[in-house]
Structures are given as structure tokens and as C-alpha cells.
Amino acid sequence: MTTRLDARFADLAARGRAGLVTYVMAGDPDRETARAILKGLPAAGADVIEFGMPFTDPMADGPSIQAAGLRALAGGQTLRKTLEDIAWFRQNDAATPIVLMGYYNPIYIYGVDAFLADAKAAGVDGLIVVDLPPEEDSELCLPALKAGLNFIRLATPTTDDKRLPTVLGNTSGFVYYVSITGITGAATPDFGKTAEAVARIKRHTDLPVAVGFGVKNAEHAGAVARGADAVVVGSALIEVLKGSLDSEGRATSGSVAAVTGLVGSIAAGVREARKAAE
């Protein structure tokens, strides 16, 4: 089975460049603005979109993404609406892979079978559920794979060679390497070490490896892109969006462009990275 993710990474490999994975939060700061951002991401240079499912208690996320989730929830965003937003996006874009990222409880309460059916129908390609390690694969990972969705796992600096096979076992689509032991948007990692880590993971898998956590600008993205199949940027986009809001926390006329503008500049950094290295 070839998914949109498989096709996109094959295409990137054929072009000889790294991909850019962008994370934005559904419903942040309001549903219409979030939809406009979602729609604008591919043209701005996003190769894969991670769409955040808001949750009240995102225990692996830093302040930026926590606040984004709470803004979205305050605006009435729900998991059902998030799936509708993706179906809306798919009316005009059949190619860009979309990965839903978040925490398990809203999915569990929605009902795993109903969620997988509705996500597939909406045009979702993969899932990243932060609080479902391999030890809990029977909850969602195995049913998701059966439903034809990719299940993308996070590998971290604490995932040693002994544990990597467990982590990679049911992973598909790509592997998301978290470059720091920490929460999203925290310290900037030593990007020299990420290339080593990617090489280590690649000894265990043929899947593409995307690297994220701590990538804030085009320069970081370029450094990561030299040694990885894709670069993930999230908190930096959330931050620039937050910076564009008015004093009441509402979107302004510049909000969408603030995000797509930063995506454009980071995308350029990613695309130039390997050329510059040659």
C-alpha cells in the first residue's frame, strides 16, 4: 500500500532534497484563520502538514503549543471540526500529506473505530499520538495501520539501540526524531549531533527520518536538512502566529501571511541546504 506520505517522500528523494514538515494547530486562533493557514501551507513550501489536535493537557509540549491549543479550544474547536477542516482542505489539494498530531484522550472519547473511519474519509494520511508508546500499540496503532493510516512514532535521544527496534516496529510513513530530551519549542539542539542520530536510526530502518523540536529559522532548518530526510518546524510557526494577533488574541489581516511567510523562508533554507553543502 502506498500512501500520500510514501509518495511524497519518494518524490523528495528523487529530487535529492529534504522535505519540510510544518506543524500548525487546528482552530488557532479561530477556525477560519487556521483553515486559511492550512490552505496556504503547500504553496508556501510545506511538503507535509502536521495538523495539531488541541488538548487541554499536552504534557510533552512547551508553552507555545499549550497556549495555541487553549486558544483553539476557547474558540470552540473539537476533534470533529478538525476532521471537517481536513476534508475541506482536501477539496482543493489531493497530494499534500496530512498527519494529525496530538494526544490520545480526545480520540479515545470519540471512539477509536469511528475516529479512524472518519479520519480516513476526511483525507488524513497518518497519526502522531504523543502519549501512545509501542507498549500501548493495541490501543490505536494497530487499528490505524489496519485502516490504512500511517502511524508515525517519535524516537528520542533516550531511545537507545536496544529500544529502537521496539519503537520502529509498527512505525510507518516516516520516523520523527525528536532532537532534544525536552518539550516542543525548548532549547536549540546541537544540529551536528542530529546527523549522527539520524544515521543511527537509519541503521535500523528504511523509513525516511524527519527531525524536529528546536528548529526556529531557515538557518536551523538548513543545518538539519543536510543530514535528514525532512525538517519539522512547529513552535516557531505558532509563535509567529501569536505575534500577529491583536491585544485580545484575535487574528489580524497579517496573521496568515506571517505564518506562510516564515514557512517560505524556512522552505528556502531547506531547499538550499544540500546545494550549499555540495
Partner: protein, 405 residues
């Protein structure tokens, strides 16, 4: 949903995956998994090591002051006019509550594992104070996460922790209460996973915490059993304890779970009432996944976690330990709830009638003792866990009763 099968023993859980029936588990970020597995292995070793157990026993005796008395509450018994009421005096422990039993076990384990940086979450501050105390005793760095709202309403405990050398970090994220303190402690742990031991204060969180904390608290029930056999020559007929996360309750209950003659009652915080703001996860919530485990939680229809409310900062957590969820579903323990008003009344009653100022948490249990005891015959023996003293609550109660201190 089908009723779960009755097991041969109610004391054999959790299974190797950390499950009590469908509850429990290890719902954490990958960064923490290696640590949780390491902790599980270290605890499995330690609990079989006579040196570790002997060290714990020594500190229980000389530092905490165990065994705690099992006290016949004669005046409360006469007041309610039914069951004979005993109080397990956990409030007499060093630091003023049962929390220290668990912290001692975890800190000794942290020392064995070579971890020198201890983090903890706290709501009312009792667990934070117990953790700060043992870190001071053993010369360990201590960081306590506490919701900014709780920092404001529990000022005496914040000062106690600082006196004991701990760093108290007010948590400004989310609703700024206990659940957010736990989120922040988990974020710290994710960031400092190599050096840091996370000392969880209740029987919740990812496996092995619910089982490990229960084991450390089971000293309460084990002593109660021995003391009761000595005093009355038989087992009690009923046990009752308040339940937030549920560590004092499971500590009393667990050694009696396989005694079919013993009725067991947990009392949740019904706040303003179960149809209003409350913190009764079993009586007013449903099963979900938060903070590493599946258990009964307070949430909305979209699976977003809701704030618990209780007069007692120690009970206003929107979840409950997974073993309690299982004991509820399987019917071994009956979960009741008491409102803020009922607890406040019981708080005053115990102070006046028995000469003991209870923690507001325990006052919830006493409120239900007041309902159950009169329906029982005079030879019925009921044990209530008096898990904490009420000194910390005096300023708050004074304000609620309209007295300016």
C-alpha cells in the same frame, strides 16, 4: 459494557502491562519510556532486597514515627449512636499526613538509582512538604511544581517547603492547579530525564507508580489489621477513607481486599454537588486517558479535561488512581461522595467532639461515617483513615466561617 470477571484475588494487580482490568497502563511520551522501564526494574529489585526494606523500616520508626495509633473514637461513636468508630491516626506522622509513607519509599529508591535531583507535583502542599522534608533529610535537590492558584491559597505549606530547602515553582499554565502542576512536572522529567527522579504523590500516573505508591502506603492497612486483631480480636467490619487520587484509601484498603466480610467505602469530593462543580471522578466522570494512565476522569464530550472543584485542595484533581477505577467497576469498593458543605460540617464536628482537627480531605470521609455509622449495629467496627491533620486548613476554614484571623 460487560461486567469484568471477578478475579481469584483482588490483590494480584496490576498485570505485566501495568493494567488493572482496562485501567492503568503506560500512556507517556517516548522520551520517558526508557526511564519508566528502568524505574520498574529498580523497584522490582528493591522490594525484594532485605537491606532496602530494613532501611525503610528504620526510617518509618525513627523519622516518621510509625506505627501510627489505631484510636477508638469514643465520643464520635456515642455521637453517631451506631457502629464503633476507630480512627487510623495517619495525621500524627511526621509532616502531618500519610503522604510521607510514599515519599520515604520513593526517595530511598531514588538514592539506590543514583538520582540526585527530585521533582514532585503538589496540590494542597502535603506531598510537596513530605518530599521537601525527605530531600532535606537525605541532602537531595528538590523542585516542587505547584499550580499558581494553589500557591496563593496554601501559603503556609509553600513557606514550609521553602524552609526545608525546596524550590517551589508556581505553574502558570492551563488552570494553574494540581493537574497543571503534574503536566509541568512531566515536562521537567521529559527534559531532565537522565538526572531526575519524579516522586509522584498518589496512586496515579504511568505504571509502575500506581502499584509502587500503593505498596508504600499499604503499611496503613497492614498496621490496622494487626492493631485491630490485638484490640478487638477480629477484623473490622468496614473501612472508609477519602479519595482524591486515592493513595491513603488504597493504603488502608489493599490489605483487606480479599476479606469478603469487610465492607469498603471510598469518599470522593462532590464539591458544590454532582450536578455542579465537583471533583468526583467515579461518581461524575467517565474512563479516559491522562497523565500516563487510563482511569475515570472529569471531561467534556470532546475528551477535554475539566477542572475538579473541591473545598479541599488535596481532592480537586480531575482523576483517580486506576486501581480504584477497577475496584469500582468490579464492585469490591463502594464509592460515595461528600459535598463541600458536608465536609465543612464534619470538620467542625470532629474538632469539637473528638478534640482532633482533621484535614478537610478526611472530613469528607467523616461526613459519610456520619451517614453509615448510625445504620450499623453497636458491635459493627468501622475504621476511618484520618490521613491528615487540619492545621493547614485553619486559615481557609476561618475565612469560610466568616472569621478574620
Amino acid at each position: 459494557m460487560n461486567a469484568p470477571l471477578k478475579p481469584n484475588s483482588f490483590r494480584s494487580g496490576p498485570d505485566e502491562n501495568g493494567r488493572f482490568g482496562i485501567y492503568g497502563g503506560r500512556f507517556v511520551a517516548e522520551t520517558l519510556m526508557p526511564n519508566i522501564l528502568e524505574l520498574e526494574a529498580a523497584y522490582r529489585e528493591a522490594r525484594k532486597d532485605p537491606a532496602y526494606l530494613a532501611e525503610m523500616e528504620g526510617h518509618r520508626t525513627h523519622f516518621i514515627g510509625r506505627p501510627s495509633p489505631l484510636y477508638f473514637a469514643e465520643r464520635l461513636t456515642n455521637h453517631f449512636g451506631g457502629a464503633k468508630i476507630y480512627l487510623k491516626r495517619e495525621e500524627l506522622n511526621h509532616t502531618g499526613s500519610h503522604k510521607v509513607n510514599n515519599v520515604l519509599g520513593q526517595i530511598l529508591l531514588a538514592r539506590r538509582m543514583g538520582k540526585k535531583r527530585i521533582i514532585a507535583e503538589t496540590g494542597a502542599g502535603q506531598h510537596g512538604v513530605a518530599t521537601a522534608t525527605l530531600c532535606a533529610r537525605f541532602g537531595l535537590e528538590c523542585i516542587v511544581y505547584m499550580g499558581a492558584v494553589d500557591v496563593a491559597r496554601q501559603a503556609p505549606n509553600v513557606f514550609r517547603m521553602k524552609m526545608l530547602g525546596a524550590t517551589v515553582v508556581p505553574v502558570q499554565s492551563g488552570a494553574k492547579t494540581l493537574k497543571d502542576a503534574m503536566n509541568e512536572a512531566l515536562r521537567d522529567w521529559v527534559t531532565n530525564v537522565e538526572t531526575t527522579f519524579y516522586c509522584i504523590g498518589t496512586v496515579a500516573g504511568p505504571h509502575p507508580y500506581p502499584a509502587m505508591v500503593r505498596d508504600f502506603q499499604s503499611v496503613i492497612g497492614e498496621e490496622t489489621r494487626e492493631q485491630m486483631l490485638e484490640r478487638e480480636g477480629r477484623l473490622p467490619d468496614s473501612l472508609i477513607a477519602c479519595v482524591g487520587g486515592g493513595s491513603n484509601a488504597i493504603g488502608l484498603f489493599h490489605p483487606f481486599l480479599d476479606e469478603p466480610s469487610v465492607e469498603i467505602y471510598g469518599v470522593e469530593a462532590a464539591g458544590h454537588g454532582l450536578d455542579k462543580l465537583h471533583a468526583a471522578s467515579i461518581s461524575g466522570g467517565k474512563p479516559g486517558v491522562l497523565h500516563g494512565n487510563r482511569t475515570y476522569l472529569l471531561m467534556d464530550a470532546d475528551g477535554q479535561i475539566q477542572e475538579g472543584h473541591s473545598i479541599s485542595a488535596g481532592l480537586d484533581y480531575p482523576g483517580i488512581g486506576p486501581e480504584h477505577s477497577w475496584l469500582n467497576d468490579i464492585g469490591r469498593v463502594t464509592y460515595l461522595s461528600a459535598t463541600d458543605d458536608e465536609a465543612l460540617e464534619a470538620f467542625q464536628l470532629m474538632s469539637k467532639v473528638e478534640g482532633i482537627i482533621p484535614a478537610l480531605e478526611c472530613a469528607h470521609a467523616l461526613a459519610k461515617v456520619g451517614e453509615l455509622a448510625p445504620t450499623k449495629p453497636k458491635d459493627h467496627i468501622m475504621v476511618m483513615n484520618l490521613s491528615g491533620r487540619g492545621d493547614k486548613d485553619v486559615p481557609q476554614v476561618a475565612e469560610l466561617l466568616g472569621t478574620k484571623l
